[in-house]
Amino acid sequence: MLVTFPHMGSAYVTLKALLEDLGVDVLVPPPCTKRTLELGTKYAPELACLPLKINIGNYIESLEKGADTIVMAGGCGPCRFGYYAEVQREILKDLGYRFEMVVLERPQGNVRDFIDRISLLTGGKSIFRVISAIKRATGVSIEMDNLERLGWEVRPREIKKGSASSLMKSFHSEVHGVKGTREINSLIRDYRRRMEQVETADEDILKIGIVGEIYTVIEPFVSIGIAEKLGDLGVEVDKSITLSYWIVNHLIKEALHMHDKREIEEAAKPYLKNFVGGHGQESIANTVIYKKKCYDGVIQLLPFTCMPEIVAQSILPRVSHDHDIPAMTLVLDEMTGEAGYLTRLEAFVDLIKRKKEMARDHEKKLLSRG
């Protein structure tokens, strides 16, 4: 059995660590490239959203390399993601591929069922071993997210341009050579130390929060590497949704009925009282929360035709106005031309920079008067 899974940013690091700890042979799909996209758009329904297409490209590239089992996440709710695994399985079958697909979804009141599915992969290892591997892998996802976050902090401040990006690049090439949660964690920590040592200038920089649909927020191939691009424009970014957030809150806490959505619901309440699927409600709530945390702007990302985020998109101008925080929406699809996106990012950064300068001038005036 050679197990593979779709790419979503650095999520492969966590999945690889988990499966390796469980003694499963893993094939990490080749990184997302134009070929991945081409395969996906060729075989997926034209009207499907972009992540489904990229997933299919990932599977085909992995199956070509000899994988025979696909692990995919599932879900339910008013978002097409819940059907991804089923549709993808049928498409690949029609293409004549032979494989098994294991769908892992949030245990809905039945933790046992979830564990059973995992044992399909692990060949009946004890439930305690599986649970402890999940626990360790969750730790990897948290460490990984912290490393990326540190990269977003360092990039706009680094003195030698490109240091953070080249460290992350070398991490991603080295991680293929190590196995299991223990080794991967120690590699992440090693890179964390190296990232901390990058020489930075203590500049007063701009901060932008990124909200939106989880896949486009996390996968740099479809979001034209927005975190890096903004970093190079001298902006620190934060992503409101990360893999560890998803694992801890949606997989673990919701299964145990411990997921506390009060902060999100409270923040979104004046605008959107209901769950609209995906992370639509979170996009609204996090815009409000970013303002409270003194961020200078918010960028919303969504794949073309994403229903939950379209709901959020139409509310966003109002939130932006009420809370005086500039917000911009970028809709992503299969375009690989970056010029239009870069123009918008640059203009948005210009906008928030000028706004901040004006606010500071105003403050100075008030102080000098006093």
Binding site: S314, P317, T343, E346, A347, F348, D350, K355
Partner: protein, 323 residues
């Protein structure tokens, strides 16, 4: 005292505009050229024309904008390379510091820029929908055999507007053909088309935005009085078209370059003799990974001066190291 000037170059998908402003930030020279898919040659031709009109003048700063801004920046040695949204806003604020809304429709894209207290507070840009841009009007004009310059005036002659679908260029075109086959007058259809384009623009870009006066309308399409009228009707506001509406981006770049060069204390402008330089491009098909990036190297007199197009930075970083 010899006068000094600032150069602004806006390389767009359809037109390349070159302007000069003087020390008093007044426009003294303007040129509107068709890009014709050959930005490097057009920039050189434009500079040659400028030199023959103005002589060997003292240029103290140069700025580039438009979708070809990076290329233009390399060729002229720009002191500042700015996105077109900021450039358009700077130019409009120069004309009217009170401006609150800028409508801009160019060949391949359209923008709305909202300003408050002299700064950009919000903007939106459309690059995916052809129905809201100038090239769609161009196409329909040529289909009807009407010169684009007369398009707007003809629309104003209409007395009974025909409704045309505005959501999509393909829908609009089939609607137009259908109405024309029913026997509707050309001017009525054209007025309908102007309204459809304005509706599409406002639905696409204006959604959720507070459009307040003063409103400035710029870009090539602002020359079309039918569209101006349609905007005024739809918005219920007065829409102003500045005299140099079609080169506002270049004016913005020139104004920005004046500030940038002043801050730096010198200009990086390569000089008017760039018309004698030999520029060429060398395509490199990178086979480093499955992305197969189409990398381009820009050569000046046989020497590589810039390189871009790679996702990973393997080629472009090499250039920054050289620089």
């Amino acid at each position: 005292m010899k006068k000094s000037y600032y150069l602004g170059v806006d390389v767009g998908s359809v037109s390349t505009n070159i302007v000069l402003v003087d020390d008093n930030r007044e426009l003294v020279y303007r040129d509107y050229l068709r890009t014709m898919g050959q930005p490097i040659r057009v920039i050189q031709e434009g500079i040659r024309a400028l030199r023959s009109r103005m002589g060997d003048i003292d240029i103290k700063g140069a700025g580039a904008t438009g979708s070809g801004r990076n290329l233009a920046g390399i060729i002229i040695g720009a002191d500042i390379v700015k996105n077109e949204i900021t450039a358009h806003a700077v130019a409009a604020l120069h004309i009217n510091p009170e401006v609150k809304t800028i409508l801009e429709i160019g060949g391949q894209d359209s923008k709305i820029i909202i300003l408050r207290d002299g700064i950009v507070s919000d903007f939106a840009m459309n690059t995916v929908c052809a129905a809201g841009t100038g090239s769609f009007l161009d196409r329909q004009a040529s289909r009807l055999g009407i010169p684009i310059e007369e398009f707007g005036a003809l629309a104003l002659k209409s007395t009974a507007e025909v409704r045309i679908a505005g959501r999509c260029a393909v829908f609009a075109e089939s609607d137009m053909i259908h109405k024309q086959q029913l026997g509707h007058k050309t001017e009525d259809i054209i007025l309908g088309l102007c309204s459809a384009l304005v509706r599409n623009y406002l639905n696409n870009l204006g959604k959720g935005k507070e459009i307040l006066e003063p409103v400035i309308f710029q870009g090539g399409v602002a020359a079309n009085c039918g569209i101006v009228k349609a905007f005024e009707k739809e918005l219920g506001l007065e829409v102003n078209v500045p005299p140099h509406h079609d080169v506002m981006g270049a004016i913005g770049a020139a104004l920005l370059s004046a500030d940038a060069a002043e801050r730096k204390g010198y200009t990086s402008f390569t000089g008017l003799d760039i018309v004698e330089c030999e520029f060429s491009v060398r395509p490199l098909d990178c086979k480093g990974c499955a992305n197969l990036c189409e990398v381009i190297e820009i050569m000046k007199n046989g020497e590589a001066v810039a390189c871009w197009g790679d996702r990973c930075g393997r080629w472009s970083n090499r250039m920054t190291k050289l620089a």
